[in-house]
Protein backbone atom coordinates (compact mmCIF):
# COMPACT_ATOMS: atom_id res chain seq x y z
CA UNK A 1 0.00 0.00 0.00
CA UNK A 2 1.56 3.24 -1.16
CA UNK A 3 1.42 6.56 0.61
CA UNK A 4 -0.38 9.49 -0.91
CA UNK A 5 -2.10 12.64 0.20
CA UNK A 6 -5.60 13.77 -0.59
CA UNK A 7 -5.76 15.80 -3.82
CA UNK A 8 -6.65 19.07 -2.07
CA UNK A 9 -3.81 18.73 0.40
CA UNK A 10 -1.45 17.72 -2.41
CA UNK A 11 -2.18 20.85 -4.40
CA UNK A 12 -1.82 23.10 -1.38
CA UNK A 13 1.38 21.49 -0.16
CA UNK A 14 3.06 21.50 -3.55
CA UNK A 15 1.93 25.04 -4.28
CA UNK A 16 3.24 26.27 -0.95
CA UNK A 17 6.57 24.46 -1.41
CA UNK A 18 6.96 25.92 -4.87
CA UNK A 19 6.30 29.50 -3.82
CA UNK A 20 8.65 29.25 -0.85
CA UNK A 21 11.26 27.41 -2.89
CA UNK A 22 11.24 29.96 -5.68
CA UNK A 23 11.60 32.76 -3.17
CA UNK A 24 14.48 31.01 -1.45
CA UNK A 25 16.25 30.48 -4.77
CA UNK A 26 15.89 34.16 -5.62
CA UNK A 27 17.24 35.19 -2.21
CA UNK A 28 20.15 32.75 -2.35
CA UNK A 29 21.00 33.92 -5.84
CA UNK A 30 21.10 37.51 -4.64
CA UNK A 31 23.26 36.63 -1.65
CA UNK A 32 25.71 34.41 -3.51
CA UNK A 33 25.91 36.83 -6.42
CA UNK A 34 26.54 39.69 -4.02
CA UNK A 35 29.33 37.77 -2.31
CA UNK A 36 30.99 36.94 -5.62
CA UNK A 37 30.63 40.53 -6.80
CA UNK A 38 32.11 41.70 -3.48
CA UNK A 39 29.09 43.96 -3.08
CA UNK A 40 27.63 44.93 0.31
CA UNK A 41 24.44 43.03 1.10
CA UNK A 42 21.47 44.63 2.78
CA UNK A 43 18.95 42.51 4.68
CA UNK A 44 16.13 44.60 3.33
CA UNK A 45 17.17 43.94 -0.25
CA UNK A 46 17.71 40.24 0.31
CA UNK A 47 14.29 39.76 1.84
CA UNK A 48 12.21 42.16 -0.23
CA UNK A 49 14.15 42.04 -3.49
CA UNK A 50 12.46 39.05 -5.12
CA UNK A 51 8.98 40.37 -4.27
CA UNK A 52 9.80 43.74 -5.75
CA UNK A 53 11.22 42.28 -8.94
CA UNK A 54 8.17 40.03 -9.26
CA UNK A 55 5.83 42.99 -8.75
CA UNK A 56 7.69 44.88 -11.44
CA UNK A 57 7.16 42.08 -13.91
CA UNK A 58 3.46 41.89 -13.03
CA UNK A 59 3.08 45.61 -13.66
CA UNK A 60 5.00 45.36 -16.92
CA UNK A 61 2.81 44.69 -19.93
CA UNK A 62 3.60 41.76 -22.12
CA UNK A 63 4.78 42.40 -25.67
CA UNK A 64 4.37 39.93 -28.49
CA UNK A 65 6.21 39.41 -31.73
CA UNK A 66 4.54 39.08 -35.10
CA UNK A 67 2.87 35.83 -36.13
CA UNK A 68 3.67 33.92 -32.96
CA UNK A 69 2.52 30.51 -31.86
CA UNK A 70 0.59 32.03 -28.96
CA UNK A 71 -0.84 28.82 -27.44
CA UNK A 72 2.67 27.37 -27.42
CA UNK A 73 4.07 30.47 -25.82
CA UNK A 74 1.42 30.30 -23.08
CA UNK A 75 1.80 26.59 -22.59
CA UNK A 76 5.60 26.61 -22.20
CA UNK A 77 5.87 28.20 -18.70
CA UNK A 78 2.74 26.39 -17.54
CA UNK A 79 4.14 23.05 -18.64
CA UNK A 80 7.53 23.80 -17.12
CA UNK A 81 5.95 24.79 -13.80
CA UNK A 82 3.66 21.76 -13.84
CA UNK A 83 6.66 19.49 -14.40
CA UNK A 84 8.49 21.10 -11.50
CA UNK A 85 5.38 20.63 -9.36
CA UNK A 86 5.14 16.97 -10.37
CA UNK A 87 8.79 16.42 -9.53
CA UNK A 88 8.38 18.14 -6.16
CA UNK A 89 5.30 16.09 -5.34
CA UNK A 90 7.40 12.92 -5.50
CA UNK A 91 10.05 14.05 -3.02
CA UNK A 92 9.49 12.62 0.45
CA UNK A 93 10.16 14.77 3.50
CA UNK A 94 9.76 11.80 5.84
CA UNK A 95 8.87 8.10 5.69
CA UNK A 96 5.15 8.94 5.66
CA UNK A 97 5.42 12.56 4.71
CA UNK A 98 5.10 12.59 0.95
CA UNK A 99 2.51 13.93 -1.43
CA UNK A 100 2.61 10.88 -3.66
CA UNK A 101 4.74 7.76 -3.65
CA UNK A 102 3.90 5.71 -6.73
CA UNK A 103 5.51 2.32 -7.18
CA UNK A 104 7.20 3.74 -10.28
CA UNK A 105 7.96 7.10 -8.67
CA UNK A 106 11.40 7.15 -10.15
CA UNK A 107 10.06 6.71 -13.69
CA UNK A 108 7.50 9.44 -13.11
CA UNK A 109 10.26 11.79 -11.94
CA UNK A 110 12.36 10.91 -15.00
CA UNK A 111 9.38 11.59 -17.25
CA UNK A 112 8.93 15.00 -15.62
CA UNK A 113 12.58 15.80 -16.34
CA UNK A 114 12.31 14.51 -19.90
CA UNK A 115 9.34 16.74 -20.65
CA UNK A 116 11.32 19.84 -19.69
CA UNK A 117 12.85 19.70 -23.15
CA UNK A 118 9.40 19.97 -24.68
CA UNK A 119 8.63 23.03 -22.56
CA UNK A 120 11.92 24.77 -23.40
CA UNK A 121 11.71 23.94 -27.08
CA UNK A 122 8.17 25.28 -27.24
CA UNK A 123 9.24 28.40 -25.40
CA UNK A 124 11.98 29.14 -27.89
CA UNK A 125 10.06 28.15 -30.98
CA UNK A 126 6.86 30.06 -30.29
CA UNK A 127 7.97 33.72 -30.58
CA UNK A 128 9.12 33.25 -34.22
CA UNK A 129 12.30 35.13 -33.47
CA UNK A 130 15.83 34.09 -34.36
CA UNK A 131 17.55 34.36 -30.97
CA UNK A 132 14.94 32.33 -29.03
CA UNK A 133 14.87 29.81 -31.86
CA UNK A 134 18.58 29.16 -31.50
CA UNK A 135 18.13 28.79 -27.76
CA UNK A 136 15.44 26.18 -28.34
CA UNK A 137 17.61 24.09 -30.63
CA UNK A 138 20.54 24.38 -28.29
CA UNK A 139 18.48 23.08 -25.41
CA UNK A 140 17.34 20.21 -27.58
CA UNK A 141 20.98 19.20 -28.12
CA UNK A 142 21.69 19.68 -24.43
CA UNK A 143 18.64 17.72 -23.30
CA UNK A 144 19.15 14.80 -25.66
CA UNK A 145 22.68 14.52 -24.27
CA UNK A 146 21.95 14.81 -20.57
CA UNK A 147 18.90 12.59 -20.60
CA UNK A 148 20.77 9.27 -20.48
CA UNK A 149 23.48 10.18 -17.93
CA UNK A 150 20.73 11.64 -15.77
CA UNK A 151 18.67 8.48 -15.83
CA UNK A 152 21.72 6.29 -15.26
CA UNK A 153 23.02 8.35 -12.32
CA UNK A 154 19.61 8.26 -10.67
CA UNK A 155 19.07 4.60 -11.49
CA UNK A 156 22.05 3.55 -9.39
CA UNK A 157 20.12 4.70 -6.33
CA UNK A 158 17.39 2.18 -7.13
CA UNK A 159 19.79 -0.78 -6.87
CA UNK A 160 20.12 -0.92 -3.05
CA UNK A 161 16.42 -0.12 -2.63
CA UNK A 162 15.33 -2.89 -5.00
CA UNK A 163 12.47 -0.61 -5.93
CA UNK A 164 11.61 2.33 -8.11
CA UNK A 165 9.72 4.03 -5.31
CA UNK A 166 11.43 7.18 -4.07
CA UNK A 167 10.40 6.55 -0.47
CA UNK A 168 12.04 3.15 -0.57
CA UNK A 169 15.13 4.57 -2.23
CA UNK A 170 15.51 6.93 0.73
CA UNK A 171 14.60 4.25 3.25
CA UNK A 172 17.37 2.03 1.90
CA UNK A 173 19.95 4.66 2.84
CA UNK A 174 19.57 4.17 6.58
CA UNK A 175 22.94 2.48 7.00
CA UNK A 176 24.89 4.51 4.46
CA UNK A 177 23.93 7.45 2.28
CA UNK A 178 24.20 6.91 -1.42
CA UNK A 179 26.75 9.68 -1.70
CA UNK A 180 29.10 7.34 0.19
CA UNK A 181 28.08 4.13 -1.53
CA UNK A 182 28.10 5.68 -5.00
CA UNK A 183 30.50 8.60 -4.89
CA UNK A 184 30.25 9.26 -8.64
CA UNK A 185 26.49 9.53 -8.60
CA UNK A 186 26.00 12.90 -6.93
CA UNK A 187 28.51 14.85 -9.07
CA UNK A 188 26.98 13.49 -12.27
CA UNK A 189 23.51 14.22 -10.95
CA UNK A 190 24.43 17.80 -10.07
CA UNK A 191 26.04 18.50 -13.45
CA UNK A 192 22.97 17.17 -15.15
CA UNK A 193 20.72 19.01 -12.70
CA UNK A 194 22.29 22.30 -13.75
CA UNK A 195 21.68 21.31 -17.35
CA UNK A 196 18.03 20.43 -16.72
CA UNK A 197 17.20 23.78 -15.18
CA UNK A 198 19.76 25.49 -17.47
CA UNK A 199 21.44 27.29 -14.66
CA UNK A 200 24.88 28.92 -14.53
CA UNK A 201 27.52 27.21 -16.66
CA UNK A 202 24.86 25.26 -18.51
CA UNK A 203 22.52 28.15 -19.13
CA UNK A 204 22.96 27.68 -22.86
CA UNK A 205 19.37 28.07 -24.12
CA UNK A 206 18.84 31.34 -22.25
CA UNK A 207 22.48 32.40 -22.44
CA UNK A 208 24.02 35.82 -22.66
CA UNK A 209 25.38 35.20 -26.16
CA UNK A 210 21.78 34.98 -27.39
CA UNK A 211 20.70 38.06 -25.40
CA UNK A 212 18.48 35.88 -23.23
CA UNK A 213 17.89 33.05 -25.70
CA UNK A 214 14.46 31.48 -25.43
CA UNK A 215 13.33 34.26 -23.10
CA UNK A 216 14.75 37.11 -25.18
CA UNK A 217 11.25 38.07 -26.32
CA UNK A 218 9.60 37.53 -22.93
CA UNK A 219 8.26 40.41 -20.92
CA UNK A 220 5.86 40.96 -18.08
CA UNK A 221 3.97 38.01 -16.68
CA UNK A 222 5.42 35.62 -19.28
CA UNK A 223 8.95 36.34 -18.10
CA UNK A 224 7.97 36.13 -14.44
CA UNK A 225 6.31 32.73 -14.85
CA UNK A 226 9.18 31.35 -16.91
CA UNK A 227 11.86 32.44 -14.46
CA UNK A 228 9.78 31.17 -11.54
CA UNK A 229 9.28 27.81 -13.20
CA UNK A 230 13.00 27.55 -13.80
CA UNK A 231 13.74 28.28 -10.14
CA UNK A 232 11.09 25.74 -9.09
CA UNK A 233 12.79 23.14 -11.24
CA UNK A 234 16.10 23.92 -9.55
CA UNK A 235 14.43 23.36 -6.17
CA UNK A 236 13.01 20.05 -7.39
CA UNK A 237 16.46 18.99 -8.60
CA UNK A 238 18.06 19.90 -5.28
CA UNK A 239 15.32 18.21 -3.26
CA UNK A 240 15.54 15.02 -5.29
CA UNK A 241 19.33 15.10 -4.99
CA UNK A 242 18.98 15.34 -1.22
CA UNK A 243 16.55 12.42 -1.20
CA UNK A 244 18.38 10.23 -3.68
CA UNK A 245 21.98 10.77 -2.65
CA UNK A 246 22.18 12.53 0.73
CA UNK A 247 20.00 10.15 2.66
CA UNK A 248 16.81 12.22 2.68
CA UNK A 249 15.35 12.30 6.16
CA UNK A 250 18.09 10.16 7.77
CA UNK A 251 20.40 11.94 10.16
CA UNK A 252 21.17 12.13 13.84
CA UNK A 253 19.70 14.45 16.48
CA UNK A 254 17.37 16.47 14.33
CA UNK A 255 14.01 15.39 13.04
CA UNK A 256 13.80 13.98 9.55
CA UNK A 257 12.05 16.91 7.97
CA UNK A 258 14.67 19.33 9.24
CA UNK A 259 17.42 17.17 7.81
CA UNK A 260 15.67 17.03 4.49
CA UNK A 261 15.28 20.81 4.35
CA UNK A 262 18.90 21.37 5.39
CA UNK A 263 20.22 19.04 2.74
CA UNK A 264 18.03 20.59 0.07
CA UNK A 265 19.21 24.09 0.93
CA UNK A 266 22.82 22.91 1.00
CA UNK A 267 22.50 21.50 -2.51
CA UNK A 268 20.73 24.66 -3.66
CA UNK A 269 23.60 26.78 -2.37
CA UNK A 270 26.06 24.51 -4.15
CA UNK A 271 24.16 24.73 -7.44
CA UNK A 272 23.71 28.48 -7.24
CA UNK A 273 27.34 29.06 -6.29
CA UNK A 274 28.38 26.94 -9.26
CA UNK A 275 26.23 29.22 -11.36
CA UNK A 276 28.20 32.26 -10.29
CA UNK A 277 31.66 30.72 -10.25
CA UNK A 278 31.82 28.47 -13.30
CA UNK A 279 32.01 29.73 -16.86
CA UNK A 280 29.57 28.60 -19.49
CA UNK A 281 30.37 25.37 -21.25
CA UNK A 282 30.36 25.32 -25.03
CA UNK A 283 27.38 23.32 -26.26
CA UNK A 284 29.47 21.07 -28.47
CA UNK A 285 31.82 20.27 -25.65
CA UNK A 286 28.91 19.51 -23.36
CA UNK A 287 27.41 17.11 -25.88
CA UNK A 288 30.69 15.25 -26.35
CA UNK A 289 31.42 15.15 -22.62
CA UNK A 290 27.91 13.92 -21.81
CA UNK A 291 28.16 11.05 -24.27
CA UNK A 292 31.77 10.07 -23.94
CA UNK A 293 32.45 10.83 -20.29
CA UNK A 294 29.24 11.09 -18.28
CA UNK A 295 27.52 8.00 -19.69
CA UNK A 296 30.48 5.65 -19.13
CA UNK A 297 31.10 7.16 -15.70
CA UNK A 298 27.46 6.69 -14.76
CA UNK A 299 27.66 3.08 -15.90
CA UNK A 300 30.85 2.52 -13.91
CA UNK A 301 29.01 4.01 -10.96
CA UNK A 302 26.14 1.55 -11.41
CA UNK A 303 28.31 -1.51 -11.79
CA UNK A 304 30.80 -0.69 -9.06
CA UNK A 305 28.13 0.18 -6.53
CA UNK A 306 26.23 -2.88 -7.71
CA UNK A 307 29.25 -5.11 -7.14
CA UNK A 308 29.48 -3.90 -3.57
CA UNK A 309 25.88 -4.84 -2.99
CA UNK A 310 26.46 -8.46 -3.93
Amino acid sequence: MRTYASPEFALLAVGFTMVVGIYVVAMLDHVVGGRVAARPLLWREIVAGPARSAALLIVQRRMTTERTDTPGWMLAPALFAALAATALALVPLGPDLVVADPETGFVVFSAAIAFVMIAVFLHGWSPNSALPLHGAYRYAAQALSFQIPFLLAMLATALPAESLSIVEIVAAQESAWNVVRQPLGLPIYLVVGLAVSFWGPLNLPDGADLAGGTSAEDSGIARLLWQAARAAMLVAIAAMGAAGFLGGWWGPWLSGIVWMLLKTVALLVLLIAAGHLLARVRIERFVVVAWVLLIPLALVNIFVSGAFLL
Binding site: R2, V14, A81, V108, L309
Partner: protein, 119 residues
Amino acid sequence: MSLLGPLGVTLVVFVGALVVVLILWWLGDRSPRTLTAPERAPFAGGLPPAVHAWSRYHARYYVMALVFLAFDMEMVYMYPWAVVFVREGVVAMVEMAMFITILLIGVLYTWRERALEWA
Protein backbone atom coordinates in the same frame (compact mmCIF):
# COMPACT_ATOMS: atom_id res chain seq x y z
CA MET B 1 -8.90 5.83 -4.72
CA SER B 2 -6.69 2.83 -4.06
CA LEU B 3 -6.38 1.95 -7.74
CA LEU B 4 -5.45 5.44 -8.84
CA GLY B 5 -3.64 6.13 -5.61
CA PRO B 6 -0.37 7.99 -5.75
CA LEU B 7 -0.29 8.23 -9.53
CA GLY B 8 -3.72 9.79 -9.45
CA VAL B 9 -2.50 12.39 -6.98
CA THR B 10 0.53 13.05 -9.19
CA LEU B 11 -1.81 13.60 -12.10
CA VAL B 12 -3.88 15.99 -10.01
CA VAL B 13 -0.75 17.96 -9.09
CA PHE B 14 0.39 18.09 -12.71
CA VAL B 15 -2.93 19.19 -14.14
CA GLY B 16 -3.56 21.51 -11.21
CA ALA B 17 -0.25 23.31 -11.58
CA LEU B 18 -0.73 23.55 -15.35
CA VAL B 19 -4.16 25.11 -14.96
CA VAL B 20 -3.10 27.44 -12.15
CA VAL B 21 -0.17 28.80 -14.15
CA LEU B 22 -2.32 29.24 -17.25
CA ILE B 23 -4.82 31.18 -15.15
CA LEU B 24 -2.04 33.29 -13.65
CA TRP B 25 -0.84 34.09 -17.17
CA TRP B 26 -4.36 34.98 -18.23
CA LEU B 27 -4.92 37.17 -15.17
CA GLY B 28 -1.56 38.90 -15.41
CA ASP B 29 -1.51 39.34 -19.15
CA ARG B 30 -2.33 42.90 -20.01
CA SER B 31 -0.59 42.95 -23.32
CA PRO B 32 -1.70 45.96 -25.34
CA ARG B 33 -4.45 45.10 -27.79
CA THR B 34 -2.78 46.78 -30.72
CA LEU B 35 0.91 46.90 -31.34
CA THR B 36 2.53 48.68 -34.25
CA ALA B 37 4.55 46.67 -36.72
CA PRO B 38 7.93 47.87 -35.33
CA GLU B 39 6.75 47.01 -31.82
CA ARG B 40 6.06 43.47 -32.93
CA ALA B 41 9.32 42.98 -34.86
CA PRO B 42 11.60 40.36 -33.28
CA PHE B 43 14.62 41.73 -31.42
CA ALA B 44 18.12 41.19 -32.77
CA GLY B 45 19.86 44.38 -31.79
CA GLY B 46 17.85 47.13 -33.45
CA LEU B 47 17.47 46.12 -37.08
CA PRO B 48 14.46 44.22 -38.39
CA PRO B 49 14.92 40.63 -39.54
CA ALA B 50 14.84 39.96 -43.26
CA VAL B 51 12.90 36.70 -43.06
CA HIS B 52 10.75 34.72 -40.67
CA ALA B 53 12.82 32.88 -38.10
CA TRP B 54 10.74 29.76 -38.63
CA SER B 55 12.56 27.85 -41.31
CA ARG B 56 14.00 24.46 -42.16
CA TYR B 57 16.37 24.81 -39.25
CA HIS B 58 19.56 22.91 -39.79
CA ALA B 59 19.91 21.05 -36.49
CA ARG B 60 23.44 19.90 -37.03
CA TYR B 61 23.40 17.43 -34.19
CA TYR B 62 20.90 15.25 -36.00
CA VAL B 63 23.25 12.26 -35.93
CA MET B 64 23.46 12.55 -32.16
CA ALA B 65 19.68 12.86 -32.01
CA LEU B 66 19.28 9.64 -33.97
CA VAL B 67 21.84 7.81 -31.84
CA PHE B 68 19.89 9.03 -28.83
CA LEU B 69 16.77 7.35 -30.15
CA ALA B 70 18.58 4.03 -30.17
CA PHE B 71 20.36 4.46 -26.86
CA ASP B 72 17.24 5.69 -25.10
CA MET B 73 15.59 2.32 -25.70
CA GLU B 74 18.21 0.77 -23.49
CA MET B 75 16.78 2.60 -20.49
CA VAL B 76 13.53 0.65 -20.76
CA TYR B 77 15.44 -2.52 -19.92
CA MET B 78 17.46 -0.99 -17.16
CA TYR B 79 14.56 -0.05 -14.89
CA PRO B 80 13.25 -3.55 -14.25
CA TRP B 81 16.82 -4.79 -14.12
CA ALA B 82 17.70 -2.34 -11.35
CA VAL B 83 14.77 -3.56 -9.26
CA VAL B 84 15.73 -7.22 -9.39
CA PHE B 85 19.48 -6.68 -9.40
CA VAL B 86 20.16 -7.60 -5.77
CA ARG B 87 17.91 -10.65 -5.95
CA GLU B 88 19.40 -12.03 -9.15
CA GLY B 89 22.98 -11.17 -8.25
CA VAL B 90 25.82 -12.09 -10.56
CA VAL B 91 23.52 -13.23 -13.37
CA ALA B 92 21.98 -9.76 -13.55
CA MET B 93 25.38 -8.15 -13.37
CA VAL B 94 26.85 -10.17 -16.22
CA GLU B 95 23.82 -9.92 -18.47
CA MET B 96 23.51 -6.18 -18.13
CA ALA B 97 27.26 -5.73 -18.51
CA MET B 98 27.06 -7.57 -21.81
CA PHE B 99 24.11 -5.53 -22.98
CA ILE B 100 25.69 -2.23 -21.98
CA THR B 101 29.07 -3.07 -23.46
CA ILE B 102 27.45 -3.77 -26.80
CA LEU B 103 25.71 -0.41 -26.68
CA LEU B 104 28.80 1.46 -25.53
CA ILE B 105 30.60 0.19 -28.60
CA GLY B 106 28.00 2.07 -30.58
CA VAL B 107 28.65 5.28 -28.65
CA LEU B 108 32.40 4.88 -29.01
CA TYR B 109 32.01 4.31 -32.74
CA THR B 110 29.86 7.44 -33.03
CA TRP B 111 32.45 9.44 -31.18
CA ARG B 112 35.31 7.99 -33.18
CA GLU B 113 33.58 8.93 -36.41
CA ARG B 114 33.29 12.45 -34.98
CA ALA B 115 29.55 12.35 -35.37
CA LEU B 116 28.93 13.99 -31.98
CA GLU B 117 30.53 17.28 -33.01
CA TRP B 118 29.00 19.53 -35.58
CA ALA B 119 30.56 22.96 -35.83
